[in-house]
């Protein structure tokens, strides 16, 4: 502040304009304005040290006269702090340290070159993006109330005035009546940003009409939602705007006293607000004659002790009065009887920050922003599983998907979006199917949640929704004022039930109890805190009921969070429940043979799964949080390879026979698994397989280069070795009647899979040269003669598509192109397959869809249309849409559509069983039995196309179910127990990427069907196994 302005007391717009002009002149004399973000986040990550280093560097470079350094409020990109914006160039530097400053000053300020090393890097492209305006996080925002945050020094009243500050006040005092001010607020449609969304104009009107010699305006800055810090950012970054909003509110309702109720946890906000209040008083903007008019208004800060409930307005009023912060019955409403009995209007920080914007630009202008019923913008605090956390301001009506995927940068580590919690502990969840939902007050209420004050917590597949509900209940339970019974005891009982469920002690009926208690809280609590306390529970039950049921019924937490329910996250993620840390420990201990048999207890196909498993275990590996997940799947293969290579005699023995026999239809992974475990229980088991080989999809669908026939045969033999009879080339319904099997066997397990390709359903699909994926692969894999083209187009993005593409390449195709309607990262195929295919020369054209097969008689090409991704589908993936007029032709002499496949059950009377609309068999969830007594089913024929490990898991479950059906206990004979080595003390958990496995080079691969992956070297295998963090040691 320059001395000549200290006693300056502006009384008009012209006075303010003069101040602004002087400020701008001062800034214009500098070549660069350097803006250091000093929001609380950046302060804690060391922005002050950065600023000092910057000043020193400027001084050393002799640029003191050419540059000015400002401390600004929060830029919003808190995870990137400390940050520096160099103006007027608009360059953003992130994650700065003091030692970077010299370089930046020299290179940027002296040599005018951007220092890319300190620029933000786009996680998708891995490219640095120097300009703030080029970063999606910023340029998709609309910054009205946060405009000054990150751009204007918060501690300077001149800077505030220079950016239109106090213009709204001047306008109001220069001739607007109180009614006109309220009318303007009504016209704006502004709704309270604190959560309830009550129209501000209506509230002010009530305050204006209320009778009372003295009235009060309160700024509610008791922001308490977990993860929310919008109000703190505004107070820290633009304190004068809040004061100006309060002044206008005070003028409108006729109040002369204002309070800012702010929590003690916000010392920086309090400090900066105190400075602003002092400045405003000195400048005559607060006090007995505001801007020289008779309007008197002053503001005091009241510091709260950080009770969440004090955000509730009646509790806040009690707290301001010096009483215990507890809500009371409304009515009477605060505007009727407020603080010390005086009419009181309470608005939150963001609401008040909107007031000057509205008064400056007009209510009608404001109403044109956002949606008709939710005008303007909303500030959100983004937290949770997203790339870009921090503060954003977006127009009302933006979709959740845009916020999560475009602004927040999506979910890290390729995980999937699962849910977003809005409204903090009083709110609820939005899920994948809500990504296209516009975010506004009414849409959110319609979906069972609320806007709240703007906390937005994003969760991915690793979040357990029962645990999320438990977390919020824990919070609410702690923060309840303790007055009302439902909120004090009800929330505790809900928390206890939830805790019990997450510990695997859930009981049937718990969900009903939770719903009852949540309803009771909502119905009978005095205040909003209690009334909404059960919302997270109700919301998660409504949207994720099956997760609750899994916890209670199966003692299973699919997200791998509730650690009392499992040994380790990897084992929990494995559908077959393989003891992953156990076998890794055995490998690490140099006991691969024991490792193989440990796997085999739960899964009879370690060698197969070691090659083709989609390894959901690795997605949950804790090691990923350090560097990369352990190569669990490859290590399983290593153990199997070791056992096979050493050709040790098999340990399995003959089991005492039982009288009952079981027929299994289909020798795929599911049928064989079921047969294996049933045989080990002593049942006579016969497997009927229509193909000439056993293995199902493993034999017909997976090419030899991924799964050698010999490996499949070996593990199939091991199944036979326990007494299972496999009859290949026997087609049920043709070679043997289903009814005969029913007579012959006491139970039947139908596991026939999905071997029939879905059609592309576009014109020309009957042309020669068009072979569908599964059919083509079956013929090729069974060694039958297949005709291939030289220029082949494969349609699809799954494993079948890539297996077909690589097979046709190996069979001699010259050019293979894969067409996919989404992006490569959206492909369901394993990334390793995609990578290998590309190495082998397969081309991928993403974002296209076929519309017609061309050619006379034989196919000559595919007419395609380009796709763009717009919005989201129900599964949370971006939705492809055709780009009009973008048609083009891809030439081809062979086309392999590999879209999906379905099952066919010609041998069963469809009227006797129940089928879904996808043609899959309906079975009882618990017993796996179809409508026909004694006929069980599992695997793809029930699930639709799925992965091998799920089929194996089903086979195992079916074995238990069948045993129970036949009077057994359902306890499987898994073989001998294998003691697991105790973990060696791993105090040194140094980062280390995966140990390499050997692969065939792409050139030799293309020449034939030799296995691509060549397995681990023993030393690497042991080392890799030692990367396991042994999450099971507890």
């Amino acid at each position: 502040m320059t001395p000549d302005t200290t006693l300056f007391r502006p009384t008009s717009k012209a006075d303010l304009d003069a101040v602004a002009a002087r400020w701008h002149e001062g800034q214009a004399t500098k070549k660069h304005q350097l803006l250091v973000c000093a929001g609380a986040g950046c302060v804690s990550s060391g922005c002050h040290a950065v600023k000092h280093a910057l000043l020193a560097a400027i001084k050393d470079a002799g640029l003191g006269n050419d540059t000015v350094v400002h401390e600004t409020g929060c830029l919003g990109s808190c995870a990137l702090g400390p940050t520096l914006v160099v103006q007027p160039d608009g360059v953003l530097y992130t994650e700065l340290k003091p030692e970077h400053m010299k370089g930046i000053v020299k290179q940027h300020l002296v040599h005018h070159e951007v220092v890319e090393a300190h620029c933000w890097v786009d996680p998708a492209t891995k490219e640095p993006v120097p300009l703030l305006s080029d970063i999606e996080f910023f340029h998709r925002q609309t910054r009205l109330v946060t405009a000054r945050c990150g751009s204007t020094p918060y501690a300077s009243i001149e800077a505030y005035i220079a950016s239109d500050g106090y213009q709204a006040l001047a306008k109001v005092l220069a001739g607007m009546t109180r009614e006109q001010v309220i009318q303007e607020m009504r016209a704006s449609g502004l709704r309270g940003r604190g959560g309830g969304g009550f129209p501000v104009g209506a509230k002010w009107q009530a305050g204006f009409k209320a009778k009372g010699a003295e009235k009060i305006v309160v700024c509610n800055a008791d922001e308490g939602d977990p993860g929310a810090f919008m109000d703190r950012s505004l107070l820290e970054g633009d304190p004068h705007a809040i004061l100006e909003g309060m002044l206008v509110a005070g003028y409108a309702i006729g109040a002369s006293q204002g309070y800012v109720y702010v929590r003690a946890e916000y010392p920086l906000a309090v400090e900066r607000l105190e400075v602003a209040i002092r400045q405003a008083r000195e400048w005559g903007l607060l006090g007995p004659n505001v801007m020289g008019t008779p309007f008197a208004f002053d503001v005091e800060i009241r510091i709260g002790a950080g009770a969440f409930v004090c955000g509730e307005e009646t509790a806040l009023m009690h707290s301001v009065e010096g009483k215990r912060g507890e809500p009371r019955q409304k009515p009477p409403f605060p505007f009727e009887r407020g603080i010390f009995g005086k009419p009181t209007i309470i608005n939150n920080v963001e609401t008040l920050a909107n007031v000057p914007v509205i008064l400056r630009n007009g209510g009608a202008w404001f109403a044109s922003l956002g949606t008709p019923k939710s005008s303007g913008t909303k500030v959100f605090a983004l937290a949770g599983k997203i790339e870009n956390t921090g503060i954003i301001e977006v127009p009302m009506g933006i979709t959740l998907g845009e916020v999560v995927h475009d602004i927040a940068g999506g979910i890290p580590k390729g995980k999937r979006f699962k849910a977003a919690q809005t409204g903090g502990p009083s709110g609820g969840c939005l899920t994948r199917e809500h990504l296209n939902t516009p975010i506004d007050y009414d849409s959110l209420v319609h979906l069972g949640t609320i806007m709240g004050s703007g906390g937005l917590i994003v969760m991915d597949e690793d979040s357990c929704m029962v645990d999320v509900a438990r977390f919020f209940l824990d919070f609410v339970q702690d923060e309840s004022c303790g007055k009302c019974v439902p909120c004090r005891i009800g929330t505790k009982r809900m928390l206890e039930i939830l805790t019990r469920i997450t510990k695997g002690q859930g009981k049937e009926g718990d969900i009903d109890l939770l719903e009852e208690l949540a309803a009771n809280c909502r119905e009978t609590s005095t205040c909003g805190l209690g009334q909404t306390a059960g919302n997270p529970v109700l919301s998660t039950i409504r949207l994720f009921r099956e997760e609750y049921e899994e916890h209670i019924r199966d003692r299973h937490c699919r997200a791998g969070v509730c650690s009392d329910l499992f040994k380790s996250p990897c084992q929990n993620a494995c559908p077959a429940g393989v003891d992953v840390p156990g076998y890794l420990a055995l490998i690490a201990a140099g006991r691969p043979r024991d490792a193989y048999y440990l796997v085999r207890r739960e899964n009879p196909f370690p060698a197969i799964c070691g090659r083709v498993c989609t390894h959901p275990c690795e997605d949950k590996c804790r090691r990923a949080q350090l560097d990369e997940p352990v190569a669990i799947c490859d290590l399983k293969r290593y153990a199997a390879d070791y056992v096979f290579a050493n050709d040790e005699p098999h340990r399995d023995l003959v089991f005492p026979k039982k009288a009952e026999s079981i027929g299994v239809i289909g020798a795929g992974p599911s049928g064989l698994t079921c047969a294996y475990y049933l045989a080990r229980l002593g049942y006579g088991v016969t497997v009927y397989e229509s193909l000439p080989v056993a293995g199902g999809m493993l034999a017909s669908g997976i090419p030899e280069y991924r799964l050698p026939k010999e490996v499949l045969a070996k593990e199939t033999r091991l199944v036979e070795q326990v007494g299972v009879r496999i009859l290949t080339g026997v087609e049920v319904g043709k070679d043997v009647k289903f009814e005969e099997l029913q007579k012959k066997h006491q139970a039947i397990y139908v596991a026939t899979g999905t071997h029939f390709p879905n059609k592309a359903e576009i014109p020309g699909e009957d042309k020669a040269g068009i072979a569908h994926g599964v059919s083509f692969l079956r013929e090729a894999n069974l060694g039958r003669a297949v005709e291939i083209g030289s220029n082949v187009v494969v349609i699809g993005g799954g494993s079948t598509a890539f297996d077909a593409a690589r097979t046709v390449l190996r069979l001699g195709a010259q050019k293979v192109t894969v067409l996919y309607r989404r992006q490569v990262e959206d492909m369901p195929a394993d990334p390793r397959e995609i990578k290998e295919a590309r190495e082998e020369g397969v081309e991928i054209i993403p974002l296209v869809a076929p519309v017609e097969f061309l050619g006379n008689g034989s196919v000559t090409g595919v007419r395609c249309v380009r796709m763009e991704l717009k919005g989201f589908d129900d599964g949370g993936r971006r939705k492809p849409r055709t780009v009009p007029g973008s048609e083009f032709v891809v030439e081809a002499d062979m086309v392999i559509p590999a879209i999906s496949q379905h099952s066919d059950l010609p041998f069963i009377d469809r009227d006797e069983v129940q089928l879904t609309k996808w043609g899959t068999l309906v079975v009882d969830k618990e017993t796996m039995m179809t409508r026909k007594p004694g006929v069980f089913s599992g695997g793809d024929v029930v699930r639709g196309p799925d992965v091998a490990i799920q089929a194996i898991a089903d086979g195992k479950r079916a074995a238990r179910a069948i045993d129970r059906y036949l009077g057994g206990t359902g306890v499987l004979n898994k073989g001998e127990e294998i003691p697991i080595p105790r973990p060696v003390d791993e105090s040194d958990v140094a980062e280390h990427e995966r140990f390499p496995m050997r692969f065939l080079d792409p050139e030799s691969r293309r020449k034939g069907f030799q296995e691509v992956a060549a397995g681990f070297h023993r030393l690497n295998a042991i080392a890799e196994a030692m990367r396991c963090l042994r999450c099971d040691r507890r």
């Binding site: 409930v309 019955q329 009302c484 439902p486 005891i489 109890l513 009771n520 119905e523 009978t524 005095t526």
Partner: protein, 600 residues
């Protein structure tokens, strides 16, 4: 005062005053809404939510005790939604309550039990952590078992709003919320006055009077001990309620009879000491008044000291003003002192073998007898204080059919009293008794009120004032000719605080103030039968005045036994022996019962 409004309750349009709550309106029109924390005229904060009702246009259910009536409001008090809500609420409360009812002191006399009778639930489905589990036996008067506390907060309201003491408050948040002194200190470490008004409103066994029946039974069963009992004036008009009689039933004779049946050797009456108090205190007042008119240093107004709750309160709150207190012990302490000296000598008993029991309407008396300044020769003069409730319990335990007792009188010499002593039990009574005697002593004439009833100091108003000019005085009091005695009477510590502020500020216009710690005086003491409502207070008060009116002698200075006591033993009021046996001194205390006065 207010404009009536109309609302619809269960389909019926009813009229209500605009400042009523829905619960009050419903009650007025005969609609019963179950409620629990609500206490008429005292406490309505809507914490238990049991009284919730449906209000048209409001999303959630509303606590009918806190929601004000509004014109056109449509209320339903008994719907499936409401019923379900009440059941779950009761079930939740029960889940945080120990269910050892059979061994609870409040068994069959518990409002929570009664609520369970009203709101039947088949089962308590919520088993979980209990929020509170502590016992506070730090005071001789009040016993707290927080595990039974259901946080209705009536005690908090009574302590802070009615009594103005504010010891009991709400601590912590959420499920950990507790009721108690600040920082969860024990009551004994607080400025609790031991008035027991919290105990009177507690619906469960969370706040109890400390039970002293066991030592009394032991003394009664011990043939070597001479047991002496005395009963306070307020007990005889309330004890009957414990045996199903209507409030205000006078059971003086049955009570004396029952005490004999219990085995007490001497059944005395605290009323005797009340008359004695008037002589001592009246003399003290006259001396102070005389000093004042003479311009000699003295302290006025003088304030009564019969109420030990009041005494402890003033020691904490106004430790600099203790000189205003009369130095007289409270009547039962006087009688205790005389029993172990005068009476012991008279019957030739060793005071060591005497056991004096006071039956009192008061919980603070239990603390009072432990004050070291009350001890004589290192021994307490009163060994145990029983409340009205405890006496009733002992009578029941002994199998005495109270209602059919014939009745008997008190023993001499410490059992005789005048009507002036009876009215000690009601607020204003001490003042009235004192004025009857002082006026007559000074002027030689009866006090100029019809039938001696000093009506201005009677009744339940918080503060009552009166003045009386002394004219045509006896020659020995000529200095007081034309002196207008200005008196004030208050009951309840909130009123006392109001008066004491003026006393401390030096603006108090009165010469003599009567303070009783409990609102309404001893008839509504913390040891009296529950409930004690305004109606019940009035009934007991009427009984007290009826006792007075029915007595042949109604002025303390006419009590022949008291006069004989002076002749035989004490000499004269404020004499040396009086000073030693009947007077005491006070202890300045701080805010948390530390013995360091504030502001001194």
């Amino acid at each position: 005062m207010t404009n009536p409004v109309h609302l619809v309750i269960n389909g019926r349009t009813v009229r209500a005053e605009s400042d009523w709550s829905v619960l009050e309106a419903a009650k007025h029109h005969g609609v019963k809404i179950p409620h629990f924390c609500y206490l008429e005229g005292v406490h309505q904060i809507g914490s238990c939510r049991i009284c919730v009702v449906e209000v048209e246009g409001m999303r959630s259910l509303q606590a009918s005790c806190t929601i004000p009536v509004r014109e056109g409001m449509v209320v339903k008090t008994s719907t499936a939604r409401v019923k379900k809500a009440r059941e779950v609420l009761y079930e939740l409360m029960l889940s945080d309550h120990p269910r050892n009812c059979l061994s609870c002191f409040r068994n069959q006399n518990c409002e929570f039990q009664k609520l369970g009778e009203e709101i039947k639930i088949p089962d308590c489905r919520f088993e979980g952590e209990k929020s509170k589990d502590s016992v506070d036996a730090s005071t001789p008067s009040i016993f707290r078992d927080t595990s039974k506390c259901i946080l209705c907060r009536r005690c908090v309201t009574v302590c802070s709003e009615i009594q103005g003491v504010g010891v009991l408050g709400v601590n912590n948040r959420g499920f950990k919320t507790t009721i108690g002194p600040a920082a969860d200190l024990p009551l004994g470490s607080s400025n609790c006055a031991n008035c027991g008004q919290c105990v009177m409103v507690c619906p469960t066994g969370a706040l109890l009077t400390r039970a002293d029946m066991s030592p009394v039974w032991n003394a009664l069963f011990d043939p070597k001990v001479r047991t002496v009992v005395q009963t306070a004036p307020a007990v005889r008009v309330a004890l009957g309620e414990m045996f199903g009689m209507p409030p205000g039933a006078i059971v003086t004779a049955k009570m004396a009879h029952a005490l004999r049946l219990l085995g007490f050797n001497d059944v005395f009456d605290t009323n005797f000491a009340a008359d004695l108090t008037i002589l001592e205190e009246g003399t003290e007042f006259l001396n102070r008044a005389l000093s004042a008119v003479r311009g000699e240093p003295t302290v006025l107004p003088m304030i009564t000291s019969c109420s030990p709750g009041w005494i402890k309160y003033v020691e904490h709150e106004f430790p600099g003003q203790l000189a205003h207190l009369s130095s007289c012990k409270s009547p039962h302490m006087m009688l205790g002192a005389l029993a172990k000296t005068y009476y012991a000598r008279k019957i030739g008993a060793d005071p060591k073998n005497m056991y004096v029991v006071s039956v009192m309407p008061c919980t603070a008396k239990k603390f009072e007898i432990t004050r070291p300044e009350m001890f004589i020769d290192g021994r307490p003069t009163v060994d145990a204080v029983l409340t009205t409730r405890e006496l009733a319990r002992m009578i029941k335990e002994a199998g005495i059919d109270f209602n059919s007792l014939e009745g008997s009188g008190f023993d001499e010499p410490l059992g005789l009293s005048t009507g002036a002593a009876d009215i000690f039990g009601a607020t204003g009574g001490v003042m009235e008794a004192a004025l009857r005697t002082v006026y007559e002593v000074v002027t030689g004439r009866e006090i100029p009120f019809p039938a001696l009833d000093v009506t201005p100091v009677r009744g339940l108003s918080s503060v009552k004032e009166a003045s009386l000019t002394l004219e045509d005085v006896k020659p020995e009091f000529r200095e007081l000719e034309g002196f207008t005695v200005r008196v004030a009477v208050t009951s309840g510590l909130k009123g006392a605080k109001r008066l004491m502020k003026e006393v401390a500020d030096g603006t108090a216009p009165w010469h003599f103030i009567e303070v009783m710690g409990c609102p309404g005086g001893c008839i509504a003491g913390g040891g009296q039968p529950r409930p004690t409502t305004r109606t019940i207070r009035e009934a007991r008060m009427r009984a007290i005045y009826a006792e007075d009116a029915g007595k042949p002698r109604r002025k303390s200075h006419e009590n022949q036994a008291v006069l004989a006591l002076y002749d035989d033993f004490l000499g004269k009021p404020l004499g040396h022996l009086s000073h030693e046996l009947l007077h005491t001194h006070y202890t300045p205390r701080g805010r948390f019962n530390e013995l360091t006065p504030k502001g001194s």
